[in-house]
Subunit: 156 residues, 2 copies
Amino acid sequence: MKRSATPDNPEISDAQLMFDVLNEIGIISQLSRALLESRLQDGLTQQHFGVLNHMVRLGDGCTPLGLARAFQVPKTSMSHTLAGLEKRGLITMAPNPDDGRGKLIYLTDAGRDLRNIAISTIAPDVIAMIPQFGRDDANAALPLLRKLRVLLDEAR
Amino acid sequence: MKRSATPDNPEISDAQLMFDVLNEIGIISQLSRALLESRLQDGLTQQHFGVLNHMVRLGDGCTPLGLARAFQVPKTSMSHTLAGLEKRGLITMAPNPDDGRGKLIYLTDAGRDLRNIAISTIAPDVIAMIPQFGRDDANAALPLLRKLRVLLDEAR
DNA sequence: CTTGTATGGTTCGATATCGTACTATAAGAT
DNA sequence: ATCTTATAGTACGATATCGAACCATACAAG
């Protein structure tokens, strides 16, 4: 199980540690995505929900590229996600008056409602996790994750 | 016990905390996947690499369903991933002598080699992160992540 | 005012993901 | 033995993801 942590090459075990961290993160992401999507209707994905949630929390009128950066996905992926949201009437896309190339994304009432319903639907699952995970551990984990995310983001 | 923004309903901010944790995890997962796949050739994905790595570390001769459970993906997804690995000559699939329905997956030499090459290719990036993230923080994060993963797994 | 280059966005094709439905074998209960 | 239910895996279709190529606009330098 334990790879030889040869004292002359401590980097190996350090690298293994980071691999393990990223591996756990990958599986948690997979699990939380599956949990979320099992609660969403109409083939909505985590990305769809994420975009709606982002705009409710931080305000709409943002650009497709800005959203792509916020979620760290290629702009082509965001383009497809936004097309799906527009097709469902959850957002509208308007040309950017300040930039002839760009667009601005706005929530519709339906989009806002759907986000709020989704939150209510998922909240019990999330709240149920807290006593088991522990508020202290959650509070401890968040800054570590933020730091790691920023690091990975800068290292791109 | 709680310094809450909404004293009448502390669960709200706790839920927000967990949402934030899962959100950071999702983005980190996205970033590390992008980083990994940019280093892999021949259209290999994180799943492909993950399966090879899993078998090198924990031994091959495992079943498709066992792998699907290990990675928390539907068995149809694993079926597709394994087909891709077999097509590339990185694994072989044999009928399970103890179960007429099942198969057993074995690494080929090419599969083992590819995994080792991939590890060597990625290791510098991972090692470079360590001094910035901090070994202590990595050591602190891992058990928290494991706990969260187990929790989510059980709550499925 | 051109020209070159950078930026915002879409289109398209290849592949991945995953739910539904299906086949085949296994295993337990009459 | 037969029936029932559970399990391992695949086929297929719908959608998601993403890189390459592309278009249009912006912007900077002559």
